[in-house]
Amino acid sequence: MRFSGWMACLLASGLLGLSAFAPAADSPKADAKVDVVELQVQPASLELKGARDARRVLVSGKTADGKIIDLTPDATFTVTGAATLDEDHFVVPKSVGDASLNITYNGKSATVPIKVLDVADPPVSFIREIVPVMTKSGCNAGACHGGQQGKAGFKLSLRGYDPQYDYAALTDDLAGRRFNRASPEQSLMLLKPTQGVPHEGGFLFDEDSRNYHLIRRWIAEGCQFDNVERVQSLDYLPKGILLDAVGQKQSHIVFARFADGTSRDVSRDVVYETSDFEKATVDKVGNVTAIRRGEASILIRYEGAFTTNVCSVLGKRDGYAWKDSPEFNFVDTHINNKLKRLKIQPAELCTDAEFLRRIMIDLTGEPPTSEETRAFLTDTRESRAKRSAKVEELINSPSFIDYWTMKWSDLLMSNRKFITEKGVWSFRNWIRNAIATNMPYDQFVSDLITANGNTFENPAANYYRISREPKLVMENMTQVFIGTRFMCNQCHDHPFERWTQTQYYELSAFFSGVGRKPGPSAEEEVIFSQPNAQVVMHPKSGKPIAAAFPYTHAGIDASLTDPREKLAQWLVSKENPYFAKSLANRYWSYFLGRGIIDPVDDIRQSNPPINGELLDALTKDFLDHNYDLKHLVRTIVSSHTYQRSIQTNDFNRDDNVNFSHASPRRLGAEQLYDAIMAATGSPGSIPGVPAGFRATQLPDGKVDLSFLDMFGRPPRESPCECERTSEVSLSQTLNLINGPTIGDAVAHPQALIARLISQKADNKKIVEEVYLSVLCRFPTAEEQKQGEVYLTQLPTQAEGAQDLMWALINSPAFLFNR
């Protein structure tokens, strides 16, 4: 009342003239007016309910060549009638009645009708008005008073997730030190942010700001706490941002919607963040600026609600014209739709040799042998047909089972540290069986979640030996099976998602009835249902918490009584929006190098998919085929997208995220070890297992092979996909150049070179065989010639052949899957 009253006073005295605000006259851009054929305004009309219901509109102009540009900051706004404009061009009511917002820009104009329904001026709301100010100003940021320990003795809840806590901190701490009802301007909560007294956090807003007036008024009104519902959802304009030129800008409108059906324009109160400031930046009031070609998501955060807008920057695309790329299945349709929109030209299909090596490493963990390569390359069938046949062959091969058993053993953390060596072998066999029989994914997960019994008789029960505590079981379950990180909301509400601290404990409580007792031998254990075996307490209330789902969906059988059966049903339901989707996304990343949502186990609103239609279609297809994992794999690898070359063109070179070309992926530790053995023809020497045993067949990471650890074998102590590393290090390079693993393998008496020498092969044959074996392709004529010359230069043929092989193993063509 006071503030608007004061504004009204100035208005009445004529100081503000027509209440028209033009852009700053000294801005150089103001002169460079763009010619537009028409103005477009969103929303087309405004309704204002209440004295503090301030709303803005977005103004864009259509140019003669059909481009849409944002004119919101540059247009001139004038209001006549029952409303006026505030300092940020927001329309605010004066009295009940009609008003009209007139917008002009470079000779064009538009009008927005306004209805002021109500000018009631209720007391300032702590939850809806004060907490947002603190969040927007950064008071409750993690680095400031929102940190675990607060700052300088003053602690707020992180990003304002707990308004009651914040209210106590502001009004109750130190007997009300932070406000001064007797003289509101002297309140510490006003003097600190305005630097009226020293404040390490610096200057945040001045005495004339909206923020200041809101807080001042709330104090003058007696520092009341109003138990109103917080925001339910956020909505924004414009939906999706496409910026043609670097430097181009776009403003935002954000609405907060409340459970009672009301909404507020919170455009200047929300917090905006960009996911990639190298592509697009966003300022405090939501103006997005294109920095360079690419995509960024704009995260919009307001009082525990989140949403994201996607911004695409096209940049210079001179000479671009879409050239049709084959669509092998629906995957390619969705991928190409996006590429067309972003003016990206996909790569060509990879060669048969590239395909063979790529698909074999991806499906079985090992590269083709020379015989396999030769057979595939000389197969005269049409390329697509023989590729499909190869996929079928591999997907049903024993090494497919080995390789995917390893991947699932990683995710489920099969580790003798937790379940003893015998347990590791039996759990491995259970997983192998599931892969071998192509057990539907829902059943696989359901069997794990509901597992009971002796861990020898039902190895799935090892699931509850690996994680032994309800909270830990829940954290691992959510990360692996719904791809979300619930651990972030253990101590406070999730800072980037809707998940709350209470939900963390409620979901954990489903595992409070997991009983564990020793089995007949020391290496086994019995898992059984035992109500309240491990009661889950809520940290705030200190009381036991009942199991509840963080979100619900149809198809849950209410008659189920066992909490884990109930949970399993909820989890694997086709209605569960995360379960199938997270798996489809995870599997996609195994073949394309990154998830459609990436990281794959950090699905949240603030981490949107790079191609939502594709992920939805992939998920639907997976569900339509009843969780058939092999079908999912087949769908992905049969696409043109998967089979694209790593060769880029002028119009996809800078794309790393939209799958317009293949990206080289360093071989994983086990893949690399097995590939070296396959390439050299050496049987390998893994301690404790028979000769010829592949690294991918090992039961867990405790098998001592330092080479694997050096190349990032996961220790299986966390369910994070990030445990397996694919980075490149100096020690790796040195080992590859000079280490015993390759040295011994190349020179092994039963290896390829030794065999070729003993067969008295000529140099031509040796060069060809070495290329086929190491790089899985025939040498080019030039390579063949150089190789042969090289072999003659060394004292012995064997030395020359070993050198050549060593050099090829050290090439990216070998070390990477490409």
Binding site: R177, R181, A182, Q195, F225
Partner: protein, 477 residues
Amino acid sequence: MSFLQFDGWISRFSVVLLALVTFLTVSQSGVAQDAKPAEVAPVSFYRQVRPVIQRHCSGCHQPSKAGGKLIVTSFEALAKGGESGPGIVPHKPAESSLVEVISGEKPRMPLKADPLKKVQVELITRWIAEGAKDDTPMALQDNISAEHPPVYTNPPVITALAYSPDSKLLAVSGFREILVHNADGSGLVKRLVGRSQRIESLAFSLDGKILAAVGGTPSLFGEVQFWNTADWTERSASFASDVMYGGSFSDDSKTFACGGADNSIRLIKVEDMTLLRKLDPHSDWVLGTGFSVDGKNLVTVSRDMAMKLSIVENGQFVDNITSITPGALKGGLMAVRRHPLRDEFLTGGADGEPKLYKMIRTQVRMIGDDFNRIRGYAPLPGRIFTLDFNTDGSKFVVGSSAAMTGAVRVYNTEDAKLLFELPGHSRGVFSVDFRPDGAQIATGGFDGTIRLFDANTGLLVKQFVPVVISPAVASQK
């Protein structure tokens, strides 16, 4: 005198004034920009330079965190400068280190922040060239006085209460003042207007001659005020850069102790207000103090969760009275009172449980022990902010706050029996006091209302707001 101590009354007007000034400047700038100003007004330190420095420099260069040994929160300190020499040399910007550090392509200051704008640097340079005058109006520094006492539009939170030893007066904390009421609530006797915005603690000396007020203005200074009850004249001393807490007199009324936001304890000679000693056994704000019966020892409680024992004569730290086992303590301790007759100390804090401790350790400390604890009492909801014994120590009253609710209870000291729950406290209680004659108990807190209870029945006798509310002023704002 710090130039930051403008007060509530003036700043209300100055905001409006400032707004008008800003507005006029803006509205005229369009016209004036191109034309050369005929005469340039001298730069005002108070209106132009001070806000810039306050905004960009005072975060790091303030009394509690004097980076580079420089303090910029007062004109005097700014002029004096820090490690880099004199901050300001009047008429000689080139020799003033202030100008040096903020100028250039990549100025050294402000650290890890955007450089000052060119116009700001020019402003400061010009101000020094013009002689670097401090034009802070005297009126702005202090316009509240005994002649112009504070005007209230809302009741202030009550943070401190104290009955006089003869049970005739009740001193109540106000904003910039102490309100001395008749103990029965029948009327205001005297308004003791001082400099501190907040009075955190009030205490009468046992001989009744002095009313001590401890407080200050948050983030600016701490203060101890001694008021002679005979003629209500004031003596005061300022300490530190933030508020002081928990004042107490020794039984012989010769020594005074208080804690502070600077984690220190101060011992003050009552006779001449000299600082006898500064003690630093605590690692967080010290919120309560109490002398032993013989006056030789001092017990203090702090937000660091500990109750500590020190020797008055030499300031030596003796012992942690509470357990020192990690995890044994929860939350800070916020109040302490000595038993009137014995060296036993009642304390309370964040866990809501009143606890009685003996001062002197009689057993060797062992890991995990809490030997000095005599007994605990049924916890109150929320945090304990205040407690007080009756004159013989047989009973005590304790007040707590859980932000949205408050509670006041009276317990028997010996058998821990809950005697009364004093009703009517819908919000947090920050101060309670037992009347020395044992007849009544006063409470106050968030809602700004004093409640007087019959100490023998627990029934409410009277309630009143200790200040006069002037709604007319509120509407004028």
